[in-house]
């Protein structure tokens, strides 16, 4: 099973990188872009075939190491 994990700063927490990118986009003429949020993307293979257990494991990974839940939120997809 493959897990695709996205980690971003929580909404409401200033994202200086997102702001800088938004400003750069604007400078380049992309006036329609707003609320740019910069994040991390991780992919991993999981030796687990049960959807429920895979989900529990990925969630535990996010809570324990991959995301700092004081400042970040995460979401993930699982594909066989």
């Amino acid at each position: 099973m493959k897990a695709k994990i996205h980690i971003t700063l929580k909404s409401g927490i200033l994202d200086p990188q997102g702001k800088a990118i938004e400003h750069a986009l604007e400078t380049l003429g992309f006036k329609n872009a707003s609320n740019v949020r910069m994040g991390k993307y991780l992919e991993l293979d999981l030796r687990e075939t049960t959807q429920d257990r895979a989900e529990a494991e990925v969630k535990a990974m996010c809570e324990k190491l991959l995301a700092n839940t004081i400042i970040e939120e995460y979401r993930y997809e699982l594909n066989t």
Binding site: L9, I13, L14, P16, Q17, A20, K40, L65, L66, N68, I70, I71
Partner: protein, 240 residues
């Protein structure tokens, strides 16, 4: 006294700390490799600055799971003094030994320069040699020093006098302009509720002797030494 200086892969201020402890304070400094699991015989622990594990994922996120960190947690829970400087502070946050988290500097830049910090609480084992309100000039060198915590935790930090250092102007005024990195409430250093764990972003070990043109950082190490000496005079010394 015997100060343990934890060495993670990527630590780069460990030798500066060892130099200050041994040459400036005249005390014993023991480097402790991150794979150690015991801190027996050590009187205080310093987590030095650097880029542990290359700052991969988040600063301090991987170092906090080093074998030695279990021993550091036990040491702290038994009342031992733990000082985290810069990356050491970031590791203490990730380990949950101090509350909050670090965000990227507001400017997105790595900032390396002298800043002024105000001693907000001189009644701690880390600041006993200072006067309340004293201004210290100490350099910072970091990209992730923008301290953040939720409003409830911030209120608790303020109410319990856990904010020990705040970025200020040379005259001691705490202003938004004196804040180099966007840190919440100009926070440069905090302690835990029990008072025996301190983290700060500035580097006192880089300015602890006259020959370097600035010895403002020395007071922090002297304060720690005094607190240890006082504690050792008491039987079953746990109070620091």
């Amino acid at each position: 006294m015997n100060f343990g200086v934890i060495v993670f892969p990527g630590s780069n201020c460990d030798h500066d700390c060892i130099h200050v402890i041994s040459s400036v304070l005249g005390q014993k400094a023991t480097p402790v490799w991150h794979k150690e699991t015991s801190l027996t015989g050590l009187d205080a622990i310093i987590l030095p600055g650097g880029f542990s594990y290359g700052d991969y994922l988040r600063t301090g996120a991987i170092a906090r799971f080093s074998p030695v960190m279990g021993a550091v947690k036990t040491f702290a829970s038994e009342g031992g003094m733990v000082l985290g400087i810069c990356n050491g502070f970031q590791i203490l946050l990730e380990a949950g030994l101090l509350p909050g988290a670090m965000l990227r500097n507001k400017s997105l830049s790595f900032i390396c320069k002298d800043v002024h910090i105000k001693v907000e609480n001189a009644a701690t084992p880390f600041t006993g040699h200072c006067e309340s309100g004293q201004v210290l000039k100490i350099p910072i060198a970091h990209a992730d020093g923008n301290y953040y915590t939720d409003p409830v935790t911030l209120a608790a930090l303020q109410a319990n006098a856990q904010i020990i250092f705040r970025y200020c102007r040379p005259d001691g005024k705490v202003t938004p302009e004196a804040n180099p990195n966007g840190s919440l409430d100009n926070i440069a250093g905090i302690r835990n509720a029990e008072g025996n764990v301190l983290g700060l972003m500035p580097h006192p070990e880089r300015c602890a002797e006259n020959v370097l043109g600035n010895d403002d950082g020395r007071v922090i190490f002297l304060s720690m030494l005094d607190a240890l000496k006082k504690a050792s005079l008491q039987p079953k010394a746990v109070e620091v």
